[in-house]
Symmetry: C2
Subunit: 162 residues, 2 copies
DNA sequence: TATGAAAAGGGGTTGCT
DNA sequence: AGCAACCCCTTTTCATA
């Protein structure tokens, strides 16, 4: 049932999720101390949260600019006619482009919002001219380069829930 | 020096980064096997990559919808006059809103792009009316609800670099 | 079905070469 | 960088509620 947790989350679960989405390298012992439960209990709860898919995965977040990926662009894309195969064809192409790290379907004026990461402006233009704009059914795009990050986190606002 | 790695990355480092940004729960032994290096060497390289800030942090990615955060909105925001204190004031407010998980400065028509996550449409409207639109100097906003995710990853396209 | 205590096993961490 | 020892944390077992 989407929109509802598969099982109720108590305060120990909430502490686990809050801590792990901030720092996935915490030991179960450290989490247990802060959550007020035993180490083995916390370990089992984490397993359940992973099995339920509430914890999707653990990842390392890398520094884009330190690696030389200096260009980030948000591109709105609108497609032409919405035939039966237009959307799947576009979406398959998108999934194959490594430059596109996110693609969201939007309600509103444009059909898609893409987050595109490349090395620099030149490589973005190459991507745009040779790949993105070549995908059939793209009507128009509106690309905006991201200049600075005021805020950026992968942490969900769990405080809104509890 | 932004845009350049603090030190050159060889193929072992590249393998480490590629694997860890996909799955941060991999053991150093597993990474070592795939990278063709010893376990302790891989461990020390990871420490160096963390010290250099190339690996920023390790986090757990949670399932937004399973937790009941069903609403995600991308909001373009344009400010009024750009006085000396207009931007910092807006940015400070943004950083305090838990609903705003990302805020990027954009080159182009609008000033900012926000990614906002809330429980549902009602809670988004409350956030928008009582918080976002109340921030002084907001001239206009353009909010688009995200309907579905075609692609979404925190993995940087390292293949573009090497 | 979930818990805490404790044993067993594997991997992170360190010193040495 | 690699090897090996050590220590800590993950994982399992067991007893209890």
């Amino acid at each position: 049932m989407p929109g509802t947790a598969a099982y109720p989350l108590d305060s120990v679960d909430r502490t686990i999720l809050t801590l792990l989405q901030a720092d996935a390298s915490l030991s179960t012992a450290e989490i247990a101390a802060r959550a007020g439960a035993s180490q083995s209990s916390v370990w089992r709860r984490i397993e359940k949260l992973e099995a339920a898919g509430i914890i999707q995965r653990r990842v390392a977040i890398l520094d884009r600019k330190k690696l030389g990926l200096n260009m980030m662009v948000f591109a709105h894309v609108k497609l032409q006619a919405h035939g039966q195969r237009t959307l799947p064809a576009f979406e398959d192409a998108i999934r194959r482009f490594p430059e596109v790290v996110e693609c969201h379907t939007l309600l509103g004026e444009t059909d898609y919002l893409l987050r595109v990461i490349t090395r620099d402006t030149e490589s973005y233009e190459t991507f745009f001219r040779k790949h993105l704009s070549q995908v059939a059914s793209v009507q128009f795009t509106n690309s905006s380069m991201a200049i600075s990050e005021v805020k950026s986190t992968t942490e969900l606002p769990l405080s809104l829930l509890w």
